[in-house]
């Protein structure tokens, strides 16, 4: 039994000195470069019809808020309190037990108390109390209430864009308060004043106009993927053509644009293409629904629904039977939690997904008609439909980063691990309190993976990197696999800073490395290169 402290020890341990300053008086925060993201450009806000477009910087004294900003926020808050019962509950029921206080990676890495989830939520809660409840109006600070000022808006902007909406804190809350949703509300309210960031809103604009975050037009998407097909030919000897906008295909495949545009995402994309070709699937990509990611989720429920709608539109236009979604984090939060209600019901031509190879019916996707590529692949492996040579990945000692959204947003733990155990021989999980539902965020989620925010990202990602360092030192891990495009974009920098020997990949990159293609079986053209066009077995190369 643990040793209990004696009463006198307990008394001695109490620090009676009051804090120098109450947190409420400590506004506005000291805003420094490296710790905030650049604000949204004027023309972007104009194009998407968001309020108060203007040129401004968080470093300015005057943020050019509308003169009636108090009324705007209070009305906005009332509106959301009446619409979302969860928001009302989260404002009312917190007992400040502190269970969440030390669970946020930004707090763990920075030590800034306002990054404690409880305090971050209190930034909003105190205004709710001070402006909208009689207790707060009567007792003020005593009731944890304060009045809305311009400094409070600055504080909100600073801290609601220092939360990656990862929901680790909510796992530990005995009341189930989802602080992520408080952040979402905080950001929605800030939009009403035009205080938002370009890294999120420009992709939103691009999605509205063109269909993907980066704003790649259809012919360029096709060209880029053709490039990847040349790489595939280089690696496997196979000439593959990816079907685009093919009417009547069985499956529509939607993946984040990072997978076909950014490195190392492209290797995962090559993985999907090789796999689908191996299975001879009747599939298609769409140059309009060319983005699985949805930065609308980090903006407002309206923006999220609008961006998501294109997937169903295309599924209907092309007349497919069901949809497979690629490896992406927040995309899957949208699909799993909001697709049904925000953009559903699914078009009538869609059916409950049924694997054309194994016959497995994915009942859980009966309503959305969309399944995760990892569950599709795991099912193939379970039915022995893939011939795999895990030794092809022997140069990698792999660990798996549970991306926040698939893990906490949809309980997706086993499928990617099951695949990894079949496609590589060396797989080691990180310590228990840093994976699965307790996974640590990459520090760059929810649209914060921009370069001007690098310092905060390194702080926020430190708990994750620390666990990677542990398996690197203990098992020699040199590859961090993940199923999220933001992870694939952000983790290489995080590893570069904290654990430089560790590379980052998607699960399907390793699948494609291990997949034994029919012509390889005959010895016609044995595989010597991996998806990165590096030798599969570097030691043999050296000896040769």
């Amino acid at each position: 039994m643990a040793k209990l402290p004696k009463p006198d020890e307990l008394i001695k341990s109490i620090d009676w000195t009051p804090p120098e300053k109450d947190w409420m008086d400590d506004v506005p925060p000291e805003i420094k470069p490296g710790r905030f993201c650049y604000p949204a450009k004027k023309n972007i806000l104009e194009e998407i019809g968001f309020p108060n477009p203007r040129d401004w910087s968080p470093l300015d004294e005057d943020w050019k808020l509308p003169s009636n900003f108090r009324e705007i926020i209070i009305e906005g808050m009332k509106d959301r309190l009446s619409k979302y019962r969860s928001f009302k509950l989260f404002m009312d029921i917190c007992v400040r037990c502190g269970a969440c206080a030390d669970k946020c990676h930004y707090f763990l890495g920075s030590g800034d108390p306002k990054n404690m989830p409880v305090l971050r939520a209190e930034l909003l809660r105190s205004i709710y109390k001070g402006e909208l409840t009689w207790q707060g109006k009567l007792f003020g600070k005593l009731a944890g209430a304060r009045k809305l000022t311009e400094d409070v808006i600055k504080e909100w902007f600073y801290y609601y864009y220092q939360c990656s909406e990862c929901r680790r804190c909510s796992v530990f809350c005995p009341y189930g308060i989802d602080t992520c949703e408080v952040t979402m509300m905080g950001r929605e309210l800030l939009h009403l004043l035009g205080c938002n960031i370009n890294w999120i809103l420009e992709p939103v604009r691009n999605c509205f106009k063109i269909g993907n975050h980066i704003g790649i037009p259809p012919h360029t998407i096709k060209e880029i993927i053709e490039y990847l097909c040349w790489d595939i030919e280089e690696v496997t000897g196979l000439k593959i053509e990816v079907p685009f906008n093919k009417k009547g295909a069985e499956i529509l495949f939607v993946t984040p644009s990072g997978d076909y545009f950014a490195e190392p995402g492209i290797y995962t994309m090559m993985g999907y293409i090789i796999l689908f070709n191996y299975l001879d699937l009747d599939w298609t990509m769409s140059t309009y629904a060319s983005e699985g990611g949805n930065f609308g989720l980090f903006t407002s429920h309206e923006a999220m629904a609008k961006i998501n709608a294109k997937i169903y539109h295309e599924a209907e236009r092309l007349g497919v039977r069901f949809i497979i979604g690629g490896e992406c984090g927040h995309m899957w939060r949208v699909k799993h939690q909001y697709m049904d209600t925000a953009t559903g019901p699914a078009p009538k031509n869609l059916e409950t997904p049924k694997s054309p190879i194994t016959g497995t019916v994915f009942e859980h996707a009966k309503s959305t008609k969309m399944i995760h590529v990892c569950e599709f692949t795991a099912d193939l492996i379970a039915h022995g439909k893939l011939e795999l040579d895990p030794s092809r990945n022997d140069k990698y000692i792999v660990t798996f980063h549970d991306s926040c959204n698939p893990s906490r947003g949809m309980g997706f733990f086993e499928e990617p691990r099951y695949i990894l155990r079949h496609v590589c021989n060396n797989f080691y999980d990180m310590p228990e309190n840093t994976i699965r539902e307790k996974t640590f965020c990459c520090g760059s989620g929810s649209g914060l993976n921009t370069d001007e925010f690098m310092e905060m990202r390194m702080r926020g990602g430190f708990p994750r990197a620390n666990a990677v360092q542990y398996v690197r030192d203990k098992h020699g891990v040199n590859m961090l696999a993940c199923i999220c495009a933001i992870d694939r974009a952000a983790l290489p920098a995080l590893m570069n800073y904290w654990a430089p020997e560790v590379q980052v990949c998607g699960v399907h990159e390793l699948v494609a490395n291990a997949l034994v293609l029919p012509h390889e079986k005959t010895g016609e053209r044995p595989r010597t290169l991996d998806m990165r066009q590096e030798p599969l077995k570097p030691e043999e190369e050296e000896n040769a």
């Binding site: 763990l108 108390p113 404690m116 060209e223 490039y227 545009f261 702080r459 430190f462 620390n466 570069n496």
Partner: protein
């Protein structure tokens, strides 16, 4: 008694004091947490600071043969290089070791026979501070390097298409774009 014996004798106290002085550079709520939680995964900052503090002291007192002082400095400085500190405040933790030693040993340091040894020790700590500055600088340089690399990765296919990639992933520029 030599200074080294004295220091070895009071190593635990010095270590505790030094750690405490470092924690005081953080907001009190954070300091309390860094101190309290002993889990190396749930409290990585506390764990890395603690490991660095203990390691550097052991190295100074010659408790181990292996020279790992750079590793231990790195454990502390890499974190502080991205936290809310000015460059001076980030490496100030090492001069704080001097303060910790003086506070713990107190009057015992007035013994003139220890003076030479004491000056040597302070010089060693200065040396550690300078090494820390070097590591701090390399961390900051790396951050800027990463920003550039990240942009290249993000625009990888575009750069490749335009024939403008020049790094280890590509080998070399095509002849027409060579400058």
């Amino acid at each position: 008694m030599t200074l080294k014996d004295l220091l070895l004798d009071k190593k635990g106290k010095i270590q505790k004091k030094w750690y405490q002085l470092i924690l005081e550079t953080y907001p009190p709520e954070a300091a309390a947490f860094f101190k309290k939680n002993r889990d190396q995964f749930e409290n990585p900052v506390g764990a890395h600071l603690g490991e660095g503090v203990e390691g550097i002291l052991s190295q100074l007192l010659g408790e181990t043969e292996e020279d790992r002082v750079k590793y231990y400095i790195d454990r502390i400085v890499r974190i502080r290089a991205v936290q809310d500190f000015t460059p001076a405040d980030a490496v100030r933790v090492f001069p704080l070791l001097k303060r910790a030693i003086r506070q713990v040993l107190g009057g015992e340091l007035e013994d003139l026979r220890l003076l030479k040894e004491f000056l040597d020790l302070e010089e060693q700590i200065d040396e550690i501070t300078l090494k820390a500055f070097e590591i701090y600088h390399s961390c900051r340089e790396r951050l800027y390097h990463m920003k550039v690399e990240e942009w290249k990765s993000r625009m990888y296919m575009l750069l490749r298409k335009a024939g403008l990639l020049y790094d280890e992933r590509e080998g070399s520029l095509p002849p027409q774009t060579q400058i």
